[in-house]
């Protein structure tokens, strides 16, 4: 008994550094932001004033907030759906045996390895109206007659940023899914083949259900990430034209650091935090049930 308590105490002691780190770099700043979001505070106005939930109320009546919200939701759903689909296909192909597979696997990861700011700049040049490669290739192929204004056209610019995100992040999805595929025991497929299951049946009866937990975790990670998208949009469009690519992160950044409305800006960050927390809880709950069944 005595020894057990001592061991337990030691175990807790071992957890303290991690705990301090998490509190210091994650919980404390998040709590500070949430606290700040209940205040009216800006750099141009000395002092702060507690105003309760008024900043959140202000968001609900602010068309800029809803615009950023819609754009963020669109960006998140579109990019994650495409990344999952394409990532799954790539993963299935790359799990087959073929010559030089190691090299191809490494090559697929290149976009993921390039810093987003750099690749956003590159894609910004590719989609430049005057001397961009996209217009040149599409015109040479006869697909378009006149140059398109990719990043200057409402309704087009946001899709271009989705494309860049898909290009960049699909390898990450493929990698996670590949890891999931490698955990599925090969003898299941063999048994199914012996029982006469065709390829589609094998895919839907074995691959999909066994892959689902990994898939859910990957989609959750990507959702959380895509929802906070900042660099692609900040570098390529800065939120324009006509606010059509303004997302929650860029909007929050502008309110916090250009307009220096620290209170209102923190409440925007707070809204993102609450949303993402809710998404995480839903996913973790779904996953827990799944794991318990097994």
């Amino acid at each position: 008994m005595q020894r057990q308590v001592g061991a337990q105490g030691f175990a807790f002691a071992l957890l303290i550094p991690a705990f301090v780190l998490i509190v210091g770099v994650a919980l404390w700043p998040a709590a500070q932001t949430m606290w700040m979001s209940l205040h009216k505070a800006s750099m141009i106005m000395p002092g702060t004033e507690f105003i309760g939930l008024q900043n959140y109320q202000k968001q609900l009546g602010d068309p800029r907030f809803w615009n950023a919200w819609r754009n963020t939701a669109y960006f998140t759903v579109a990019s994650v759906a495409l990344e999952t689909l394409i990532g799954l296909i790539i993963a299935l192909v790359l799990s087959q045996e073929f010559p030089l597979r190691g090299w191809v696997r490494a090559a697929v990861l290149v976009p993921w390895a390039i810093p987003t700011v750099v690749s956003s700049r590159l894609w910004g040049l590719i989609f430049n109206t005057d001397f961009g490669l996209a217009n040149y290739l599409l015109r040479s192929a006869g697909i378009i007659q006149t140059d398109r204004n990719w990043l200057g056209e409402v309704g087009v610019a946001l899709n271009v940023t989705v494309l860049v995100d898909v290009w960049k992040t699909t390898p990450f999805m493929a990698l996670l899914i590949m890891a999931g595929l490698s955990t599925i025991p090969g003898d299941l497929y063999e048994a199914a083949r012996v029982d006469g299951a065709n390829m589609l049946q094998r895919f839907f009866q074995i691959t999909v259900p066994l892959l689902l937990p990994v898939l859910l975790v990957s989609v959750m990670l990507r959702l959380l990430d895509a929802f906070r998208v900042f660099d692609v949009i900040y570098v390529m469009t800065g939120g324009g034209p006509a606010d059509s690519t303004e997302v929650m992160s860029t909007f929050t950044y502008k309110i916090l650091f250009s307009a220096t409305q620290f209170g209102f800006g923190s409440s925007l960050a707070g809204s993102m935090f609450i949303t993402l927390l809710a998404v995480s809880i839903v996913f973790l709950y779904a996953l827990r049930n799944r794991l318990e069944v097994e």
Partner: protein
């Protein structure tokens, strides 16, 4: 002297990461100004943007250290002015930290009321004399004043000009246009006559960014309008509608401006012009130096400049731009910091730093009359009159907030998402809320 480079990326990243930190610091108690240390070595930090012109700051800081034994300067290089959002973020973060770093900084002229009003910039009234003030363009001293106090000190001035291809205009026996109608018809005539599908008529900056507001101030002034009249919002009156309608028509009606301007800030508009693919360009003064530099330009000696055109009821307007010095209110060595500002803004240094083409423009009137400048950089010497009458953007501590509202509304009209009057009314409503 030591040099630290701050890239765009580090600032953006630090900015996002420090979002919480800044706000937390903001709540903290304000520190009383520290006592000046008399003994020993004084170390100053100086955060300055990189200009579009030749680098000279490192060199002159060496001269300052030589002339002022006992003071060393650490130079923090900030990004170029087209990344002004990042520079602003850096200043907001570091000044709010109130730890005295950087001692001296450079700021866009539009942030002066903001930093002055927040008590982050040291008032310089104890240091500067009336004689000092009289040496500069009067509009600039006004620009450096907030609430009756001098809270900044002039470094360089800039303004928007019309650059044009003199060779092409000569070919069609055209004069430099002074009205917008003339500009449109000249641009159309040249573009049609040249038959070059890559040649654009008139480029300017329509990206949803600060520079769009600068362009707007010029179009608006050219129609006789203004954003604010005292504390009344006048942006959505007849002159405003006329100015914004012109911007929209240049793109969709006269078709002398390509839709690509919706993605242009300074450099993306300058590059086609100096590659010979535009007849007219609205841009800052740095364009001229680059246009005359054979490494950057295929139109050397073919470019001329003039004040921007205007409507009958308005006047040619140049948006007042430029960066000015400020001293951190928390600086531990305000006297040494002022010495540095005094040195940097001295006639000697201003002259020295404006001699090579492409350099930024001095703020002291006397420098423009110096024979050395007329000989070495006649373009610069000829700008005196343009800078004397340049028009500032709205002067208000909440200007950055007002700017965001204007950027969004103007961009909506230019992208055909809103009618001209609708966009202006929406901006006016937001501006009234911000000021009120």
């Amino acid at each position: 002297m030591t040099l630290t480079r701050i890239s765009r990326r580090t600032i953006v990243k630090a900015g996002v990461g420090a979002a919480v930190g800044t706000t937390a610091l903001h709540l903290g108690a304000r520190r009383a100004p520290a006592v000046i240390r008399r003994q020993g070595e004084v170390k100053l930090t100086f955060a300055a943007i990189k200009t579009f012109g030749p680098d000279y700051i490192a060199e002159i800081l060496g001269q300052f250290e030589e002339e002022n034994p006992g003071i060393t300067v650490e130079y923090i290089e900030l990004p170029t002015p087209n990344n002004s959002t990042e520079v602003h973020t850096y200043l907001v973060n570091s000044l709010n930290a109130r730890n005295g770093e950087p001692d001296v900084f450079t700021q866009d002229c539009i942030w002066i009321p903001e930093f002055g009003g927040a008590g982050l910039a040291l008032p310089l009234d104890d240091f500067v004399t009336d004689d000092d003030k009289a040496a500069y363009f009067p509009g600039l001293i006004e620009n450096c004043t907030w609430d009756g106090k001098i809270v900044a000190w002039p470094w360089m001035v800039d303004g928007g000009f019309m650059f044009y291809r003199k060779d092409l205009l000569d070919k069609y026996s055209l004069e430099a246009p002074t009205s917008w109608d003339e500009l449109i018809s000249s641009a159309q005539q040249v573009v049609e006559g040249e038959g070059n599908p890559d040649l654009a008529g008139f480029l300017w900056q329509g990206k949803q960014a600060e520079v769009l507001v600068c362009n707007w101030v010029e179009f608006l002034g050219s129609a006789g309008g203004s954003t604010l009249d005292g504390t009344t919002v006048t942006i959505n009156n007849e002159a405003g509608a006329k100015a914004l309608q012109l911007m929209v028509d240049l793109i969709y009606e006269a078709r002398v401006t390509p839709e690509a301007v919706l993605t242009y800030d300074e450099e993306p508009s300058r590059i086609p012009f100096t590659s010979g693919n535009a007849v007219f360009l609205r841009n800052w003064s740095y364009t001229y130096g680059l246009a005359q530099d054979a490494a950057e330009s295929s139109v050397v000696d073919k470019v001329a400049y003039a004040p921007l055109p205007h409507f009958e009821e308005g006047r040619s307007t140049s948006c007042l731009g430029g960066y000015q010095y400020g001293i951190n209110a928390s600086s531990k060595n305000p006297e040494a910091a002022y010495k540095l500002v005094q040195f940097l803004s001295s006639e000697e240094i201003q002259l020295k730093s404006s001699l090579s083409p492409g350099s930024s423009s001095p703020t002291r009137i006397a420098v423009y009359d110096a024979p050395e400048l007329k000989e070495a950089n006649p373009f610069m010497a000829s700008l005196k009159d343009i800078f004397t009458g340049s028009t500032p953007r709205p002067i208000h501590p909440a200007y950055p907030q007002m700017s965001l509202a204007m950027q969004s509304g103007l961009s909506s009209a230019l992208a055909n998402q809103m009618g001209v009057q609708e966009a202006l009314d929406s901006i006016a409503q937001q501006l009234t809320d911000i000021i009120g």
